[in-house]
């Protein structure tokens, strides 16, 4: 595991300044992505997964601001870069695939226009060359009649096809980091499998690192090397994929695993985690999970645990493991 690290996020805090006050969507998140590695971020809606990825891409909307922390990409802290330098990274060194393929493409421009646009910005090639490369990449993402699709408008394509086009756009400039924000959530199960397979193939020999955001543990098992479990804007467990499925430590991770239906276990009722993710402007004191935790103790309510190593490369933020660490 002596690979070089590509992205290091250190104590990232992203807050949203809204009319209802300051909302700490991401509150002290740290992790590392090595070259060629796939890191999955898992958590319920509202856990801060997407905001983490948008912070890395520099795509936060006007209300969102990186409050503190560093994002080191290839040795440089990109939170300190100018808007212009940040823009030069986007679509080039780091690219993103979004959750909603149906609305992520501009309805008024052809697929070709939208792919070659990215190529023209970063690779400084003429129109003809950009078209050639666009058609090549469309073929690579498994689109059969690439020439025809190049001239099509997005509304003529199916959801799976549109997500392939999105992947083509994201990979058109051979990014070093690909952020995939629930890229298969909106798709049929069979299409999901195809898209995941495609992503795996496309990055295999390119050493592309992936930050894969999902709430689907099945997808985690399929794709990830490392897994970050997020809850209420914080990392609660951070380990490799095998450890996670074999010996998950945090009560939240355990509940997540338990709530995933298993095909060989016939149960009447699905396991659920009682309650909901706390409202970000009214976070519970102490451990943020204590309101829903089956193992809650006295000290969980007032004292916040820290993320500690319980084994090599297995970090957990829970009082249950504090002594062992």
């Amino acid at each position: 595991m002596g690979r070089e690290s590509l992205l290091e996020v250190r104590n990232l805090k992203t807050y949203f300044y809204t009319e209802d006050g300051v909302i700490p969507s991401v509150d002290g998140v740290s992790f590392t992505i090595k070259k060629g590695e796939t890191v999955a971020v898992v958590g319920e809606s509202g856990s801060g997964k997407s905001v983490t990825s948008l912070s890395i891409m520099g795509l936060l909307d006007a209300a969102g601001k990186i409050e503190s922390g560093t994002i080191i990409f290839e040795g440089n802290d990109i939170t300190k870069l100018s808007k212009k330098d940040r823009r030069k990274l986007r679509g080039n060194e780091m690219a993103m695939i979004f959750q909603e393929p149906l609305t992520s493409l501009n309805p008024l421009f052809t697929v070709g226009n939208q792919i070659s646009e990215a190529i023209k910005i970063h690779q400084k090639v003429d129109k003809k060359e950009a078209k050639k490369r666009s058609i090549e990449i469309l073929k690579k993402v498994g689109i059969a009649r690439a020439e025809k699709v190049y001239h099509s408008y997005p509304h003529l394509l199916s959801g799976g096809m549109r997500q392939r086009v999105m992947i083509a756009i994201a990979l058109s400039c051979n990014p070093k980091l690909l952020i995939a924000d629930e890229p298969t959530t909106a798709l049929d199960v069979t299409i999901q499998a195809q898209i995941l397979q495609l992503m795996k193939e496309l990055i295999k020999d390119k050493q592309t690192s992936i930050l894969f955001i999902t709430h689907d543990l099945g997808v985690v098992a399929e794709m990830a090397d490392q897994v970050i479990v997020m809850y209420a804007g914080q990392v609660v467990e951070y380990t490799d994929v095998f450890t996670l499925f074999k010996e998950a430590a945090h009560p939240y991770t355990k509940s997540l695993l338990a709530s995933t239906p298993k095909i060989h276990e016939q149960t009447e009722k699905l396991q659920v985690i009682e309650g909901t993710v706390p409202n970000p402007n009214a976070m519970p004191s102490g451990c943020r999970f204590h309101t829903r935790c089956p193992y809650v103790m006295e000290k969980c309510m007032n004292n916040e645990p820290v993320l500690t190593n319980i084994h090599t490369r297995h970090q957990v933020k829970c009082w249950l493991y504090e002594e062992e660490g």
């Binding site: 823009r87 986007r90 690219a95 992520s104 309805p107 990215a118 910005i121 408008y153 756009i169």
Partner: protein, 305 residues
């Protein structure tokens, strides 16, 4: 597309038919024009004779029948004032009105597009507050008052532009500003709200994620989408614009259709009124058709059926 336009053009016929009926009824209930046409000391006999010769003594349905027979041949009857067929007089005035309307639209677009985009992308900034507030105030300002103020300041006091009339470019500027800024006020608000909605769309984020410059994100990806509802609303506002030309033309003595129509109403020159309203209705309908065609050209998702 040709087929679609043909069908839409055919649909215009029943609409014009209904409009012509309404116009006829309005004129019918408006009363007797004879009293205004003759000198005050005209004898009762003269009045009766004139009524007879104009066919005003016939019952409603006969008058309507005569009117429709004429209409079928695009004959709106003779103008009492000009003593010639009404339609050529109206058509002769049309270019002046179109010139004013087009100039006003250019003024409106030149103000509204940058201001609308600007206030949407800098939401809640000082520019936005001034632009939106200004638009509300401007919308509330009556055309005739603004026209008179502009004449007072720029023609009377500063002497930069002629007070009234038509002929050179300088004649066109004040009326075009009067009419155009009013339209711009409405349009700015539409563009702003349309842009605000579009800027939150996923594809705008996609455009940013490619590393596109913000200028292109806004003007290529967002604005093209924001334009679609704006085009529709603007076309539907043609009637408001026409209404605005009526007033603006009167203020600036602009020899267009509006001025002609207002004079005709005052003198109860019914043939002119009917012909003018008919032509205006036709323009409004034609603009709506144009909007539908533009809509299609702007949005590939819409197909002609």
């Amino acid at each position: 597309m040709g087929k679609y336009i043909m069908r839409r053009l055919l649909q215009i016929i029943p609409v014009l038919f209904i409009i012509s009926f309404i116009v006829f009824c309005l004129v019918y209930v408006a009363g007797d024009p004879v009293a205004l046409m003759l000198p005050e000391d005209a004898s009762q006999e003269d009045i009766l004779q004139l009524r007879e010769s104009l066919g005003l003594n016939e019952p409603f349905y006969i008058q309507y029948f005569n009117y429709m027979v004429g209409l079928a041949q695009l004959d709106f009857g003779e103008s009492f004032r000009y003593n010639t067929s009404a339609l050529p007089i109206v058509l002769e005035r049309l270019p002046a009105t179109i010139e004013l309307a087009v100039a006003a639209m250019i003024v409106a677009i030149m103000i509204a597009i940058p201001l609308g985009i600007w206030s949407a992308t800098k939401k809640n900034s000082a520019i936005d507050v001034v632009a939106t507030g200004g638009a509300v105030i401007w919308k509330a300002m009556p055309n005739f008052w603004l026209g008179i103020m502009l004449i007072l300041i720029f023609s009377v006091m500063l002497g930069w532009f002629p007070v009234s009339g038509r002929g050179t470019w300088s004649h066109l500027i004040l009326p075009a500003i009067t009419l155009g800024t009013g339209i711009a006020a409405e349009m700015t608000r539409f563009i702003r709200s349309s842009m605000l909605e579009i800027m939150n769309q996923d594809y705008v984020r996609t455009a940013r994620s490619k590393g596109l410059k913000e200028f292109f994100v806004i003007h290529k990806h967002a604005f093209r989408n924001a334009l679609i509802p704006v085009v529709t609303i603007t076309a539907l506002q043609t009637s408001t614009v026409v209404g605005g030309t009526l007033i603006t033309e009167s203020v600036f003595s602009w020899p267009g259709l509006g001025q002609l129509l207002i004079q005709a109403v005052n003198t109860r020159d019914m043939a002119i009124v009917q012909a003018s309203v008919f032509i205006i209705a036709f323009i409004v309908i034609a603009m709506n058709l144009l909007a539908d065609i533009l809509y299609k050209l702007l949005d590939p998702r819409i197909t002609f059926r």
